[in-house]
Amino acid sequence: MARKEAIQLRRDTRSLILAFLLPVLLLVIFGYAISWDVRDIRTAVLNQDQSAHARELLDAFRASGYFTFRSDLARAQEIGPLLDGVGVQLVLVIPPDFSARLNAGRPAALQAIVDGSDANTATIILAYTRAIVLSYSLDAQLQGARVNPPVTLESRVWYNEELLSRNMIVPGLVAVIMMIVAAMLTSLTIAREWERGTMEQLAATPVARAEVVLGKLLPYLGIGLVDVVVSAVLGVWIFDVPFRGNVLLFMGLSAFFLTGALGLGVVISALARSQLLATQIAMIVTFLPAYLLSGFMYAISVMPAPLQLLTYLIPARYFIVVTRGLFLKGVGPEALWLQGLLMIVFAALGLGLAIRSFRKELG
């Protein structure tokens, strides 16, 4: 059974291309597209002061590397239209009395107007702005004098030293991609037998249900594991994501996770009996939960309680812990035993349901 499926698969170039290209494509697209790092903040300046102080402040912004200055404005009326478009995210307004107040030792104000339509980005922009202004005013107050502040914070971020969001996204993405590709691939196989009329002949043979299901899963498990390797290598190679864990442990847990997802695909396939419907269902039941509820995009801890409960049912949630743990933290079995156990449960469940759902009966 597995051999026949493998031969068929080899002849089915379209499926093969899909099987290998889809993960690469997803990884590259999402890997590049999704980033919470805010850089190159497009900034416009309305400088009504034109003093040395104002220039110093703006230089501090420029030196930080997070801001690119797009335009100098002459009048306040220009601000509105500028923010309405997408060209500018931040407008800094330096009032005419800025240096005068500073020189007089009185508090001076700087106005920052942020495009808040992307709340996340706006928050980050404001935080950067605040930090720069804070350090500038500290400098201004001390007038260059060196003092030792009573408390300094020496922060060290573990596992993702540069706080790059792609280091967090890529391992999660590997998990999401596996879920989608695996369920998609197998969702086609049994539906195809129904569609082409080969199921009737197959059903009339004494072949055991488990044999059919396993035979269909094995070649796809092989492909899935190749996909895992490909996406992991791509992640390390293109996106410079570290891989610190044990490769064998990673492959082993991936195999269990894939088995579960492949089994789920068979269940869908056996119920849908049409390839088109099967892929659509596979897409909905795997992609959306794996994408939205697995903690890949949105932290589970900020979800409303009922949704949080729901996430416990999403296998990708646990697998993402595995991939992030192995990529970034390099942890071993002692940290992942629970997830490993759940992967095995998922595999057994997927397989069991697949065999139960597949019927050698027409009508």
């Binding site: 059974m1 051999r3 026949k4 031969i7 068929q8 002849r11 089915d12 082409r196 009329g197 080969t198 199921m199 009737e200 002949q201 197959l202 059903a203 009339a204 043979t205 004494p206 072949v207 050698k360 009966e361 027409l362 009508g363």
Partner: protein, 308 residues
């Protein structure tokens, strides 16, 4: 019926799809080594009946036993002894002829040691040997059917269930197919074959005429033909359609049917009624080329039974 235990015993078998009763209360027995025909128009229930016998469709009522194994209680147990060939080509078009044969040999658990001999025998009948490496999808309709039959026969089944095996098949492949079936029956295999071609029905040992999910008649082809009430007069006449319209209300004519350009007229006795009927046609100005008494064909029987 013979004294031996039947190979197939069907009792009160029924199956419905929603409101449609595809097969209703069908009962018959088939003896070991018998070539049994299921004959009837499309929608008569032939396919549904065969699917239930093959254990791929669960009956709603009744039961069928194949060599004592019930299709209701043990549908998987039935499958070891049968070869089922569905009407729709059910092999993998993206596998070669040999790969399909190997696959089915695997499914039926045919030992490697025996495969060679069996394949050679099947190739001998099917003439498929030169096409071993060809993709099944690239075969002609007749060759596809022969391949499907070969796959079904790879495990030496005791019972053959063939659903319209010659449908849409060229005459030469059709002859090959029947050759294989007859050969298997000679060896003691029991075969149940459905067909919509009535001319093929005369090959069977016994025939069940199916219509609307029920068995209308069941007997040997010869006895079915003899059982036809009255006799058949075959008339070759110019303008056969006009002739039919003339005869259809004639008091002596029980039935008149157009077969190609010949009229089959059923009367009580050709000897006494024949001349009167020819006269009617001549009086109407139609020239009768030939008129003779004929054996009732199964088509005549079938049409009579449907009408009755």
């Amino acid at each position: 019926m013979t004294d031996a235990a039947p190979a197939i015993a069907v009792r009160g078998l029924g199956c419905r799809f929603g409101e449609i009763r595809a097969v209703e209360d069908v009962s018959f027995e088939v003896s070991p080594g018998e070539l049994f025909g299921l004959v009837g128009p499309d929608g008569a229930g032939k396919t549904t009946l065969l699917r239930m016998l093959a254990g791929v469709l669960r009956p709603d009522g009744g039961d069928a036993q194949l060599y004592g194994v019930s299709v209701v209680r043990d549908p998987e147990g039935v499958k070891h002894e049968i070869a089922y060939m569905p009407q729709r080509f059910g092999l993998y078009t993206d596998l070669t002829v040999m790969e399909n044969l190997d696959f089915y040999a695997d499914l039926y658990g045919v030992p490697q040691a025996e495969r060679r001999a069996r394949l050679e025998r099947l190739f001998h009948f099917s003439n498929l040997a030169p096409f071993g490496d060809r993709l099944a999808g690239a075969l002609s309709g007749g060759m596809k059917q022969k391949l499907a039959l070969s796959c079904a026969l790879i495990h030496l089944p005791k019972i053959l269930l063939l659903d319209e095996p010659t449908f849409g098949v060229d005459p030469i492949s059709r002859r090959d197919l029947w050759l294989i079936v007859h050969e298997m029956v000679e060896e003691g295999v029991t075969a149940v074959v459905s067909t919509a071609y009535l001319d093929e029905a005369e090959r069977f040992d016994r025939v069940a005429l199916l219509h609307g999910g029920r068995v209308l008649a069941l007997d040997t082809p010869a006895r079915l033909q003899r059982g036809l009430s009255g006799e058949v007069l075959v008339i070759e006449v110019e303008a056969p359609r006009a002739a039919r319209d003339l005869l259809v209300d004639h008091p002596k004519v029980r039935r008149v049917t157009l077969f190609g350009d010949k009229l089959h007229v059923t009367v009580a006795s050709v000897a006494s009624d024949g001349p009167a009927i020819e006269r009617v046609l001549r009086d109407a100005g139609l020239s009768v080329h030939r008129a003779h008494k004929a054996e009732a064909s199964l088509e005549d029987v079938f049409i009579e039974r449907l009408a009755g």
